[in-house]
Amino acid sequence: MEISKGIWRTLIIGMATFTALPIIAVFSYVFVPAPEVWAHLFDTVLVDYISNTLWLMLGVSVGVLLIGIPAAWLMSMCDFPAQRFFEWALLLPLAMPAYIIAYTYTGMLDFAGPVQSLIRSLTGWGYGDYWFPKVRSLGGAITMLSLVLFPYVYLLARAAFLEQSICVLEVSRTLGANRWQSFFRVALPLARPAVITGLSLALMETVADFGTVQYFGVSTFTTGIFRTWFGLGDHAAASQLAALLMTLVLVLILLELWSRQRARYHHTSSKYSRIPKYQLKGWWAIGAFLVCALPLALGFIIPVAQLVYWGISTAHLTLDSSFWELVLNSLILAALAALSALILALILGYGKRINPDPMVKTATRIAALGYAIPGTVIAIGVLIPLAWLDTQLNILAKYVWGTSVGLIFSGSLLTLLYAYNVRFLAVSLQTVEAGLGKIKPTIDNAGRSLGLGSVGVLRYLHLPLMKGTLLTALLLVFVDVLKELPATLILRPFNFNTLAVKAYELASDERLAEAGLPALMIVAAGILPVILLSRSIATSRAGTSSS
């Protein structure tokens, strides 16, 4: 079968438009005046949204840098007990969605929770006799987000440290700088672009967070958009808030792009020598161990233990047919989204490979923009055009049949799948593009000269060669969809629940223990991509003794 280049082009540009539509829809509202609502928002909550969001970003930045960089440095340069274990285990907090860790710590640290109960029973104090940090606060949100987002910084900083030639550090030593000075004056500045990339990824997740801040009652942009859309029913104002948030995200995207480009100039060597690891002993070894063990324990082990306890203790309540329906709903939804994102990614990636003109390249880049855009924003961006479409359909139906047909698109699973594809297409596209990049172009030419058309090359050569890649792309989107909360919450059909939504609802009803089981399943699924990630790191690194 032969599809001409023109058709591939049209297909790709069509898809890019399709995925960019929600973003365009949100921005189009910037020009719809909504002065009364703005005045109201400005007088009441807007200042809160802005200041809370900025404080959250600042706090999380400090948090992830303080946890991520020391761990990355110790891991690349030193040798201490259990170091090999921490190497991959420090990625585990990535499997923990922020809203789940938020419920868990609330349950543990609230007045009625086990920790405060223990303090009271040990000391005999009563309510108000002692000070205890409030979990459900801005500070709490910062802590929760830092605990699960630091692996971004850890991962990229560690890669950067490993890529640095040991020579530059040795040169710095011969020029009279000691180990600490070498770190601050040479290694850290060299790793700065990578650290900034990691930080901007963590911050994108921070501004996209809805579950944590909503649960903690911290008003930020995401909760504000949600409240304005549903509470006030003001779509124009909600869209304008969304546009404002997206501008903030755009700054983060530019920061990431800029730092990735800078990173090219910070490569010190293309040859890697084995880094002679510094053997830590005594108190130093214990210190290094704690620097790695504390974030792991707080960000993963303790909350998982708590979830397991809750899950087991409430299993008799939660494990019924409705729970399995929940699981099935989530799995089917995630599988459908993963599959459709993979198909889109294949068309985009392969289309770009055979037709790499500037227009197509721009189109694929636009199609992948959604990864940075908060689920809340995408949800309303999807609702705007589909609601319009529904209205038009009903006008048409009234005209033709004299009766309305109701809402066809909004509130259907199709809407939800659309939003997931906009949000997660970048994940599968990136994976597919990496996989295609490993196939030599002469393989395509050989296939063509042996009688295959462009679709045949994809079908008989690329797909079998990329089996592993395709599975990875499916898995990554699958897990992302399983964890996704705000878009699902906003767009799901009436009475349609998923694990994430159920956990959110139970937690909001203060039935934290019952939220344990669905939350645990999400975390368990989230571990899969972490394993994949640590495997790919283990096989691709340079400069360490194991190979």
Binding site: T442, A446, R448, S449, L450, G451, L452, G453
Partner: protein, 346 residues
């Protein structure tokens, strides 16, 4: 009728013309070669024949079918042209048998099996059906790539630097092997290379390309002994061009003395020309009229290649001598001219 014919091919990327007005013909069963330094456009031309590049003007015909012209572009998979790539491009996920049968999927299983056996025997790799490409050596992979391309009995075979990744010593042997296989299958072929030894070992006719222009399309003997211009003269074989001046209809005065032969039409007395002096035109002898000084020498195993400076103190020529006949640098040597083909270029 020629099996392959290119007429006035021009290929342009935007404003940049990469192939200028190239025409050539290859007869059925012949092996042609596009030879030239890197960046001369030879691979672009090959890709245009295969259908991976469009032509800006001119036309390419295979037999009596036009396969490329500004109006017509038959896609590569419909051209029945086989191709062997520099990196072989064997499909890593398929066995050798499945690689070879890839282009003959439409045949019956029995016919496929038979053709695979026949081709494996031809390339001297019988019994390799079940292996995978990564289990084979570079030379074996190359022969499988050839077998795969031959399987559908293509009307034309294209080979893109097929020996580029092999050891230099092996290339000529492999080129001979591939030539024998192609001849046995009576396949018309075009080879692209920058290595003249490879071209000589394999091709019946060779085209020398420079900056997108075909300098000469001829058989190897003529390329060597009757180069069309100074570029071909210097690119093919070894030798130096030295200045000369026409004396009369048969003789030219040069720094090595008077040389004679048939002069190009229109040569008039006192016209300046260049004369190609190849190392095999110079015979070093014990005593002769002509003499020169050795200024450098390179050991070549069986022989030494000497660079000699003539008595005018500026012209240098090359000479070969058996390695047991040694001369030191600075030594004066005597030589005779043994020029059977006088090569003159304007």
């Amino acid at each position: 009728m020629s099996q392959l014919s290119l007429q006035n091919i021009v290929i342009q990327y935007g404003q940049q013309v990469v192939i200028h007005d190239v025409s050539l013909q290859v007869e059925h069963g012949q092996i042609g070669c596009l030879l030239g330094p890197s960046g001369c456009g030879k691979t672009t031309l090959l890709r245009a024949i295969a259908g991976f590049e469009a032509v800006t003007s001119g036309q390419i015909a295979l037999g009596d079918t036009i396969i490329s012209s500004p109006q017509i572009h038959i896609p590569p998979e419909k051209r029945q042209i086989g191709m062997v790539f520099q990196d072989y491009a064997l499909f890593p996920h398929l066995t050798i048998a499945n690689n070879i049968s890839f282009g003959i999927r439409q045949l019956s299983k029995v016919a496929q099996t038979k053709r695979i056996e026949q081709l494996l025997e031809l390339v001297n790799l019988s019994g390799y059906q079940k292996r995978y490409p990564h289990e084979l050596s570079g030379g074996q992979q190359q022969r499988i790539a050839l077998a795969r391309a031959l399987a559908p009995k293509p009307k034309l075979m294209l080979l893109d630097e097929p020996f580029g990744s092999q050891d230099v010593e092996l290339r000529e042997i492999l080129a001979r092997e591939v030539r024998d296989i192609l001849k046995q299958e009576q396949t018309t072929a075009i080879l692209v290379t920058h290595d003249q030894h490879e071209a000589f070992a394999m091709a019946d006719e060779i085209g020398v390309l420079k900056a997108g222009r075909l300098q000469q399309w001829d058989n190897p003997y003529h390329l060597y002994h009757r180069p069309a211009n100074a570029f071909v003269a210097e690119f093919i074989g070894q030798g130096v061009l030295i200045a000369g001046e026409v004396l009369d209809n048969y003789t030219v005065q040069t720094a090595v003395g008077v040389v004679s032969g048939s002069l190009p039409v229109g040569a008039t007395p006192h016209m300046p020309l260049q004369v190609l002096i190849r190392p095999d035109d110079i015979r070093l002898v014990a005593k002769a009229e002509r003499k020169a000084v050795v200024i450098s020498r390179v050991f070549r195993g069986a022989e030494y290649l000497y660079t000699l400076q003539l008595s005018d103190q500026k012209t240098t020529i090359l000479a070969l001598a058996p390695s047991h006949q040694q001369y030191e640098i600075g030594e004066t040597v005597y030589f005779e001219l043994d020029m059977q083909h006088l090569v003159l270029v304007p």
